[in-house]
Amino acid sequence: MAVIKPYFSLYEIALLSLCAALIVALNIALAIPLKIPGHTGIYWVVPVIIGVGIVKKPGAGTYIGFISGILATLFGLNTLHIFNLLIYLSMGITIDILGFVFFYRLDHPAAGFITGAAGNLVKMIVNYTLQTFLGIPAGFILIGIGTASITHVIFGGIGGILAALVLSRLLKAGVITRDRS
Protein backbone atom coordinates (compact mmCIF):
# COMPACT_ATOMS: atom_id res chain seq x y z
CA MET A 1 0.00 0.00 0.00
CA ALA A 2 1.39 3.37 -1.03
CA VAL A 3 2.04 5.80 1.80
CA ILE A 4 0.80 9.29 1.05
CA LYS A 5 3.48 11.78 2.02
CA PRO A 6 2.00 14.90 3.61
CA TYR A 7 2.64 18.20 1.82
CA PHE A 8 4.06 19.79 4.97
CA SER A 9 6.16 17.68 7.32
CA LEU A 10 5.40 17.61 11.04
CA TYR A 11 8.36 19.92 11.64
CA GLU A 12 7.09 22.40 9.05
CA ILE A 13 3.54 22.34 10.40
CA ALA A 14 4.85 22.98 13.91
CA LEU A 15 7.06 25.82 12.72
CA LEU A 16 4.32 27.49 10.66
CA SER A 17 1.82 27.17 13.51
CA LEU A 18 4.28 28.74 15.93
CA CYS A 19 4.82 31.61 13.49
CA ALA A 20 1.04 32.09 13.28
CA ALA A 21 0.73 32.08 17.07
CA LEU A 22 3.63 34.54 17.29
CA ILE A 23 1.75 37.04 15.12
CA VAL A 24 -1.21 37.03 17.50
CA ALA A 25 1.05 37.09 20.57
CA LEU A 26 2.97 40.09 19.19
CA ASN A 27 -0.29 41.87 18.42
CA ILE A 28 -1.49 41.39 21.98
CA ALA A 29 1.84 42.02 23.72
CA LEU A 30 3.08 45.02 21.74
CA ALA A 31 0.96 48.13 21.91
CA ILE A 32 2.98 50.85 20.22
CA PRO A 33 1.19 54.19 20.76
CA LEU A 34 2.12 55.57 17.34
CA LYS A 35 -1.43 56.08 16.07
CA ILE A 36 -0.17 55.82 12.49
CA PRO A 37 -2.05 53.44 10.17
CA GLY A 38 -0.05 50.30 9.41
CA HIS A 39 2.52 50.69 12.18
CA THR A 40 1.81 47.17 13.44
CA GLY A 41 3.22 45.88 10.14
CA ILE A 42 6.67 46.52 11.58
CA TYR A 43 6.34 43.34 13.64
CA TRP A 44 3.49 41.26 12.26
CA VAL A 45 4.97 40.59 8.81
CA VAL A 46 8.15 39.24 10.44
CA PRO A 47 6.87 35.77 11.50
CA VAL A 48 5.15 35.24 8.12
CA ILE A 49 8.27 36.05 6.11
CA ILE A 50 10.47 33.97 8.40
CA GLY A 51 8.06 31.03 8.16
CA VAL A 52 7.87 31.23 4.36
CA GLY A 53 11.64 31.81 4.14
CA ILE A 54 12.41 28.68 6.16
CA VAL A 55 9.80 26.26 4.79
CA LYS A 56 10.16 27.45 1.16
CA LYS A 57 6.97 25.78 -0.09
CA PRO A 58 3.95 27.34 -1.81
CA GLY A 59 1.13 27.54 0.73
CA ALA A 60 3.32 28.19 3.76
CA GLY A 61 2.26 31.85 4.01
CA THR A 62 -1.37 30.94 3.37
CA TYR A 63 -1.21 28.41 6.21
CA ILE A 64 0.26 30.98 8.60
CA GLY A 65 -2.39 33.52 7.55
CA PHE A 66 -5.20 31.01 8.04
CA ILE A 67 -4.08 29.91 11.51
CA SER A 68 -3.31 33.44 12.71
CA GLY A 69 -6.67 34.62 11.33
CA ILE A 70 -8.49 31.97 13.35
CA LEU A 71 -6.49 32.82 16.47
CA ALA A 72 -7.10 36.56 15.98
CA THR A 73 -10.83 35.88 15.67
CA LEU A 74 -10.86 33.75 18.82
CA PHE A 75 -8.89 36.33 20.80
CA GLY A 76 -11.05 39.18 19.42
CA LEU A 77 -8.12 41.33 18.30
CA ASN A 78 -10.28 43.99 16.69
CA THR A 79 -13.85 44.78 15.76
CA LEU A 80 -13.88 42.67 12.61
CA HIS A 81 -14.26 39.29 14.37
CA ILE A 82 -14.51 36.47 11.78
CA PHE A 83 -13.48 38.86 9.00
CA ASN A 84 -10.01 38.91 10.60
CA LEU A 85 -9.52 35.64 8.75
CA LEU A 86 -9.69 37.44 5.39
CA ILE A 87 -7.15 40.06 6.46
CA TYR A 88 -4.57 37.59 7.74
CA LEU A 89 -5.22 35.18 4.87
CA SER A 90 -4.73 37.88 2.24
CA MET A 91 -1.44 38.91 3.80
CA GLY A 92 -0.27 35.29 3.95
CA ILE A 93 -1.23 34.64 0.32
CA THR A 94 0.59 37.79 -0.83
CA ILE A 95 3.79 36.84 0.98
CA ASP A 96 3.38 33.32 -0.39
CA ILE A 97 3.19 34.59 -3.97
CA LEU A 98 6.12 36.97 -3.56
CA GLY A 99 8.21 34.27 -1.88
CA PHE A 100 7.61 32.08 -4.94
CA VAL A 101 8.42 34.99 -7.30
CA PHE A 102 11.68 35.71 -5.44
CA PHE A 103 12.78 32.03 -5.43
CA TYR A 104 12.29 32.09 -1.62
CA ARG A 105 15.38 34.29 -1.26
CA LEU A 106 13.62 36.33 1.40
CA ASP A 107 16.88 36.78 3.31
CA HIS A 108 17.76 39.50 0.79
CA PRO A 109 16.86 42.91 2.32
CA ALA A 110 15.32 44.23 -0.92
CA ALA A 111 13.15 41.14 -1.32
CA GLY A 112 12.27 41.33 2.37
CA PHE A 113 11.30 45.00 2.07
CA ILE A 114 9.06 44.41 -0.95
CA THR A 115 7.46 41.31 0.53
CA GLY A 116 6.74 42.97 3.87
CA ALA A 117 5.48 46.17 2.24
CA ALA A 118 3.21 44.30 -0.17
CA GLY A 119 1.87 42.05 2.59
CA ASN A 120 1.06 45.04 4.81
CA LEU A 121 -0.44 46.95 1.86
CA VAL A 122 -2.74 44.07 0.88
CA LYS A 123 -3.78 43.77 4.50
CA MET A 124 -4.72 47.47 4.41
CA ILE A 125 -6.72 47.10 1.20
CA VAL A 126 -8.73 44.14 2.53
CA ASN A 127 -9.17 45.95 5.86
CA TYR A 128 -10.31 49.11 4.07
CA THR A 129 -12.79 47.18 1.95
CA LEU A 130 -14.24 45.38 4.96
CA GLN A 131 -14.43 48.53 7.09
CA THR A 132 -16.12 50.41 4.26
CA PHE A 133 -18.75 47.74 3.67
CA LEU A 134 -19.33 47.11 7.37
CA GLY A 135 -19.54 50.83 8.18
CA ILE A 136 -16.84 50.94 10.85
CA PRO A 137 -15.00 54.27 11.14
CA ALA A 138 -11.30 53.67 10.53
CA GLY A 139 -8.22 55.86 10.83
CA PHE A 140 -7.17 55.49 7.23
CA ILE A 141 -10.53 56.78 6.03
CA LEU A 142 -9.90 59.99 7.95
CA ILE A 143 -6.31 60.56 6.83
CA GLY A 144 -6.80 59.39 3.24
CA ILE A 145 -5.96 56.08 1.60
CA GLY A 146 -2.95 57.54 -0.26
CA THR A 147 -1.17 58.56 2.94
CA ALA A 148 -2.24 55.33 4.63
CA SER A 149 -0.74 53.34 1.72
CA ILE A 150 2.62 55.04 2.18
CA THR A 151 2.71 54.39 5.92
CA HIS A 152 1.72 50.74 5.38
CA VAL A 153 4.52 50.30 2.81
CA ILE A 154 7.09 51.93 5.08
CA PHE A 155 6.21 49.94 8.21
CA GLY A 156 5.66 46.68 6.32
CA GLY A 157 8.94 47.24 4.50
CA ILE A 158 10.84 47.80 7.74
CA GLY A 159 9.31 44.61 9.14
CA GLY A 160 10.35 42.80 5.95
CA ILE A 161 13.93 44.00 6.27
CA LEU A 162 14.00 42.82 9.91
CA ALA A 163 12.74 39.41 8.81
CA ALA A 164 15.36 39.29 6.04
CA LEU A 165 18.12 40.07 8.53
CA VAL A 166 16.92 37.30 10.86
CA LEU A 167 16.80 34.82 7.97
CA SER A 168 20.24 35.91 6.85
CA ARG A 169 21.68 35.32 10.33
CA LEU A 170 20.00 31.90 10.49
CA LEU A 171 21.55 31.03 7.11
CA LYS A 172 25.00 32.16 8.21
CA ALA A 173 24.70 30.21 11.44
CA GLY A 174 23.76 27.10 9.46
CA VAL A 175 20.41 26.69 11.18
CA ILE A 176 18.69 26.72 7.79
CA THR A 177 20.00 26.24 4.26
CA ARG A 178 19.32 28.24 1.13
CA ASP A 179 18.27 25.15 -0.88
CA ARG A 180 15.30 23.13 0.31
CA SER A 181 16.52 19.76 1.51
Binding site: F102, A110, F133, G146
Partner: protein
Amino acid sequence: MEFRARVGLVFVLLGCFLGLMLVLDTFSGEMFPQQEVAIVPGVLIDQTFTKAGFLYGPQSWRPGYDPLGIEPGVEQPGNSRWYLMFIDLNATPVSGNPQVKRLGSVRVTYNMTGLVGRAVFHTYGLTTGTMPTRTNRQTGTNHCAYVVTGNAPAGTSMPAAIPLVVQPTHQYRIAISNNQAADYAGMTSTTRSFQFTQPGAGQGALHITSDLKKPLGMVTETSGLNGTFYVTATGGNPGNDLLLLVAVDRPQADDFALRVRTEFIRT
Protein backbone atom coordinates in the same frame (compact mmCIF):
# COMPACT_ATOMS: atom_id res chain seq x y z
CA MET B 1 14.15 36.03 -15.15
CA GLU B 2 16.89 36.58 -12.65
CA PHE B 3 16.32 37.32 -9.00
CA ARG B 4 17.44 40.96 -9.27
CA ALA B 5 15.20 41.58 -12.28
CA ARG B 6 12.22 40.13 -10.42
CA VAL B 7 12.93 42.29 -7.37
CA GLY B 8 13.17 45.36 -9.60
CA LEU B 9 9.96 44.52 -11.45
CA VAL B 10 7.94 43.97 -8.29
CA PHE B 11 9.42 47.15 -6.80
CA VAL B 12 8.26 49.13 -9.84
CA LEU B 13 4.79 47.54 -9.63
CA LEU B 14 4.59 48.46 -5.95
CA GLY B 15 5.59 52.03 -6.77
CA CYS B 16 2.93 52.22 -9.51
CA PHE B 17 0.29 51.00 -7.05
CA LEU B 18 1.33 53.60 -4.49
CA GLY B 19 1.18 56.29 -7.16
CA LEU B 20 -2.32 55.16 -8.10
CA MET B 21 -3.42 55.38 -4.46
CA LEU B 22 -2.04 58.90 -4.17
CA VAL B 23 -3.79 59.94 -7.38
CA LEU B 24 -7.04 58.43 -6.09
CA ASP B 25 -6.56 60.30 -2.83
CA THR B 26 -5.92 63.59 -4.61
CA PHE B 27 -8.80 63.42 -7.05
CA SER B 28 -11.33 61.45 -5.03
CA GLY B 29 -13.04 64.71 -4.06
CA GLU B 30 -13.61 65.53 -7.73
CA MET B 31 -14.56 62.02 -8.79
CA PHE B 32 -16.91 61.47 -5.88
CA PRO B 33 -18.15 64.95 -4.95
CA GLN B 34 -19.55 65.21 -1.45
CA GLN B 35 -23.27 65.71 -1.24
CA GLU B 36 -24.23 69.14 -0.03
CA VAL B 37 -25.71 69.89 3.34
CA ALA B 38 -29.46 69.67 3.01
CA ILE B 39 -32.36 70.20 5.36
CA VAL B 40 -34.72 67.27 5.48
CA PRO B 41 -38.20 68.80 5.10
CA GLY B 42 -40.26 68.81 8.25
CA VAL B 43 -40.00 70.41 11.68
CA LEU B 44 -39.55 67.80 14.41
CA ILE B 45 -40.70 69.96 17.29
CA ASP B 46 -41.85 73.56 17.39
CA GLN B 47 -42.79 74.46 20.91
CA THR B 48 -42.69 77.46 23.20
CA PHE B 49 -41.71 77.08 26.83
CA THR B 50 -42.24 79.50 29.71
CA LYS B 51 -40.53 79.78 33.09
CA ALA B 52 -42.89 77.03 34.28
CA GLY B 53 -40.78 74.65 32.17
CA PHE B 54 -37.84 74.94 34.55
CA LEU B 55 -38.64 71.91 36.69
CA TYR B 56 -35.29 71.54 38.46
CA GLY B 57 -33.12 73.78 40.60
CA PRO B 58 -31.63 75.78 42.05
CA GLN B 59 -28.57 73.57 41.76
CA SER B 60 -24.98 73.79 40.59
CA TRP B 61 -24.77 70.58 38.59
CA ARG B 62 -26.18 68.61 35.70
CA PRO B 63 -26.48 64.80 35.52
CA GLY B 64 -23.43 62.68 34.79
CA TYR B 65 -21.72 59.72 36.48
CA ASP B 66 -20.40 62.29 38.92
CA PRO B 67 -22.31 65.58 38.88
CA LEU B 68 -21.05 67.74 36.02
CA GLY B 69 -20.71 71.50 36.05
CA ILE B 70 -23.12 73.57 33.99
CA GLU B 71 -20.81 76.45 33.11
CA PRO B 72 -18.82 75.25 30.03
CA GLY B 73 -15.33 74.07 30.98
CA VAL B 74 -16.12 73.76 34.70
CA GLU B 75 -15.79 70.19 35.93
CA GLN B 76 -16.73 70.47 39.58
CA PRO B 77 -20.00 72.13 40.44
CA GLY B 78 -19.51 75.15 42.68
CA ASN B 79 -22.06 77.14 44.59
CA SER B 80 -23.83 78.58 41.56
CA ARG B 81 -27.61 78.35 41.37
CA TRP B 82 -28.97 77.18 38.07
CA TYR B 83 -32.49 76.29 37.02
CA LEU B 84 -32.82 73.40 34.61
CA MET B 85 -35.30 72.51 31.89
CA PHE B 86 -35.13 69.34 29.80
CA ILE B 87 -36.72 69.34 26.35
CA ASP B 88 -37.16 66.25 24.18
CA LEU B 89 -36.00 67.25 20.70
CA ASN B 90 -37.68 64.28 19.00
CA ALA B 91 -34.58 63.78 16.87
CA THR B 92 -31.12 62.23 16.85
CA PRO B 93 -28.00 62.87 14.79
CA VAL B 94 -26.62 60.09 12.55
CA SER B 95 -22.96 59.20 12.99
CA GLY B 96 -20.79 56.48 11.51
CA ASN B 97 -18.76 55.84 8.40
CA PRO B 98 -19.31 58.58 5.81
CA GLN B 99 -18.29 56.13 3.08
CA VAL B 100 -21.38 54.01 3.53
CA LYS B 101 -24.17 56.22 4.81
CA ARG B 102 -25.19 59.83 4.82
CA LEU B 103 -24.59 61.40 8.19
CA GLY B 104 -26.78 64.02 9.73
CA SER B 105 -27.11 66.45 12.59
CA VAL B 106 -29.97 68.13 14.40
CA ARG B 107 -30.47 71.84 13.88
CA VAL B 108 -31.93 73.65 16.86
CA THR B 109 -33.43 77.09 16.27
CA TYR B 110 -34.29 79.11 19.36
CA ASN B 111 -36.07 82.41 19.97
CA MET B 112 -35.98 83.86 23.48
CA THR B 113 -37.72 86.79 25.04
CA GLY B 114 -37.24 88.17 28.52
CA LEU B 115 -33.98 86.34 29.25
CA VAL B 116 -32.08 87.60 32.25
CA GLY B 117 -28.56 86.37 32.93
CA ARG B 118 -27.09 83.41 31.11
CA ALA B 119 -28.80 80.47 29.46
CA VAL B 120 -26.57 77.44 28.76
CA PHE B 121 -27.56 74.65 26.37
CA HIS B 122 -26.29 71.09 26.83
CA THR B 123 -27.53 67.91 25.24
CA TYR B 124 -28.17 64.28 26.22
CA GLY B 125 -28.68 61.19 24.06
CA LEU B 126 -30.94 58.48 25.47
CA THR B 127 -29.75 54.87 25.25
CA THR B 128 -31.00 51.40 26.00
CA GLY B 129 -29.45 48.38 27.74
CA THR B 130 -26.19 48.99 29.56
CA MET B 131 -24.96 51.74 27.24
CA PRO B 132 -24.38 54.98 29.15
CA THR B 133 -26.43 58.06 28.32
CA ARG B 134 -24.62 60.25 25.81
CA THR B 135 -23.79 63.89 26.43
CA ASN B 136 -21.53 66.69 25.26
CA ARG B 137 -18.08 66.94 26.84
CA GLN B 138 -17.97 69.23 29.86
CA THR B 139 -14.24 69.93 30.09
CA GLY B 140 -11.01 69.34 28.21
CA THR B 141 -10.51 68.82 24.50
CA ASN B 142 -13.60 69.44 22.40
CA HIS B 143 -15.77 70.47 25.33
CA CYS B 144 -18.74 72.34 23.98
CA ALA B 145 -21.94 74.19 24.85
CA TYR B 146 -24.03 77.10 23.65
CA VAL B 147 -24.39 80.12 25.92
CA VAL B 148 -26.85 83.00 25.47
CA THR B 149 -26.76 86.13 27.61
CA GLY B 150 -29.75 88.41 28.11
CA ASN B 151 -30.35 91.58 30.12
CA ALA B 152 -34.10 91.67 30.68
CA PRO B 153 -35.46 92.65 34.12
CA ALA B 154 -34.89 89.89 36.67
CA GLY B 155 -37.63 87.69 38.04
CA THR B 156 -38.15 86.86 41.68
CA SER B 157 -38.80 83.13 41.81
CA MET B 158 -39.07 79.91 39.83
CA PRO B 159 -42.09 78.26 41.46
CA ALA B 160 -42.03 75.04 39.43
CA ALA B 161 -38.38 74.21 40.17
CA ILE B 162 -37.22 71.73 42.81
CA PRO B 163 -33.59 70.59 43.17
CA LEU B 164 -32.63 67.30 41.55
CA VAL B 165 -31.08 64.85 44.01
CA VAL B 166 -27.67 63.30 43.28
CA GLN B 167 -28.27 59.58 42.80
CA PRO B 168 -25.62 57.15 44.14
CA THR B 169 -26.81 54.64 41.51
CA HIS B 170 -25.87 57.18 38.80
CA GLN B 171 -29.33 56.71 37.30
CA TYR B 172 -31.82 59.55 36.95
CA ARG B 173 -35.46 59.76 36.02
CA ILE B 174 -35.86 63.15 34.37
CA ALA B 175 -39.13 64.95 33.74
CA ILE B 176 -39.21 66.70 30.40
CA SER B 177 -41.01 69.97 29.90
CA ASN B 178 -42.72 69.20 26.63
CA ASN B 179 -45.49 66.73 26.09
CA GLN B 180 -45.98 66.89 22.37
CA ALA B 181 -42.82 64.98 21.38
CA ALA B 182 -43.30 61.40 20.31
CA ASP B 183 -43.45 58.95 23.17
CA TYR B 184 -40.36 56.85 23.72
CA ALA B 185 -40.86 53.07 23.95
CA GLY B 186 -41.34 51.84 27.48
CA MET B 187 -41.45 55.27 29.09
CA THR B 188 -44.21 57.62 29.99
CA SER B 189 -44.65 60.71 27.90
CA THR B 190 -43.21 63.02 30.53
CA THR B 191 -40.08 61.31 31.90
CA ARG B 192 -36.86 59.97 30.45
CA SER B 193 -34.12 57.82 32.02
CA PHE B 194 -30.42 58.63 32.29
CA GLN B 195 -27.84 56.05 33.28
CA PHE B 196 -24.11 56.50 33.68
CA THR B 197 -22.00 53.39 34.12
CA GLN B 198 -18.54 54.76 34.89
CA PRO B 199 -16.71 58.07 35.30
CA GLY B 200 -16.68 59.99 32.04
CA ALA B 201 -19.06 57.50 30.42
CA GLY B 202 -21.00 58.90 27.47
CA GLN B 203 -19.20 62.25 27.51
CA GLY B 204 -18.07 63.47 24.10
CA ALA B 205 -20.48 61.24 22.17
CA LEU B 206 -22.50 64.33 21.28
CA HIS B 207 -21.32 67.78 20.32
CA ILE B 208 -22.86 71.23 20.16
CA THR B 209 -21.59 73.49 17.41
CA SER B 210 -22.62 76.69 15.72
CA ASP B 211 -20.63 75.79 12.60
CA LEU B 212 -21.12 72.46 10.84
CA LYS B 213 -17.57 72.70 9.50
CA LYS B 214 -16.48 72.10 13.10
CA PRO B 215 -18.54 69.01 13.97
CA LEU B 216 -16.56 68.27 17.14
CA GLY B 217 -18.19 71.27 18.73
CA MET B 218 -17.18 74.47 20.46
CA VAL B 219 -18.28 76.80 23.22
CA THR B 220 -20.34 79.52 21.60
CA GLU B 221 -21.14 82.64 23.63
CA THR B 222 -23.67 85.04 22.18
CA SER B 223 -26.06 87.77 23.20
CA GLY B 224 -28.36 86.95 20.30
CA LEU B 225 -31.76 85.98 21.62
CA ASN B 226 -32.59 84.38 18.26
CA GLY B 227 -30.17 81.88 16.84
CA THR B 228 -29.30 78.42 15.59
CA PHE B 229 -26.92 75.72 16.67
CA TYR B 230 -26.41 72.08 15.78
CA VAL B 231 -26.18 68.86 17.75
CA THR B 232 -23.73 66.54 16.01
CA ALA B 233 -22.28 63.11 16.71
CA THR B 234 -18.98 61.65 15.52
CA GLY B 235 -18.80 58.43 17.53
CA GLY B 236 -20.37 55.04 17.12
CA ASN B 237 -23.70 55.55 18.84
CA PRO B 238 -25.34 58.93 19.44
CA GLY B 239 -28.30 57.39 21.25
CA ASN B 240 -31.83 57.07 20.01
CA ASP B 241 -33.42 60.30 21.17
CA LEU B 242 -32.06 63.70 22.09
CA LEU B 243 -32.81 65.84 25.10
CA LEU B 244 -31.84 69.48 25.27
CA LEU B 245 -30.88 70.84 28.67
CA VAL B 246 -31.53 74.56 29.09
CA ALA B 247 -30.04 76.00 32.28
CA VAL B 248 -30.45 79.61 33.41
CA ASP B 249 -28.42 81.11 36.23
CA ARG B 250 -31.12 83.26 37.85
CA PRO B 251 -34.90 83.38 38.22
CA GLN B 252 -36.62 84.56 35.07
CA ALA B 253 -39.39 87.11 34.82
CA ASP B 254 -42.95 86.07 34.05
CA ASP B 255 -42.65 87.14 30.42
CA PHE B 256 -39.78 84.74 29.73
CA ALA B 257 -40.41 82.57 26.67
CA LEU B 258 -38.25 80.14 24.77
CA ARG B 259 -39.35 78.82 21.38
CA VAL B 260 -37.46 75.74 20.17
CA ARG B 261 -37.66 74.22 16.70
CA THR B 262 -35.68 71.20 15.51
CA GLU B 263 -34.93 69.95 12.02
CA PHE B 264 -32.77 67.16 10.67
CA ILE B 265 -29.86 68.18 8.47
CA ARG B 266 -28.08 65.78 6.13
CA THR B 267 -24.36 66.57 6.12
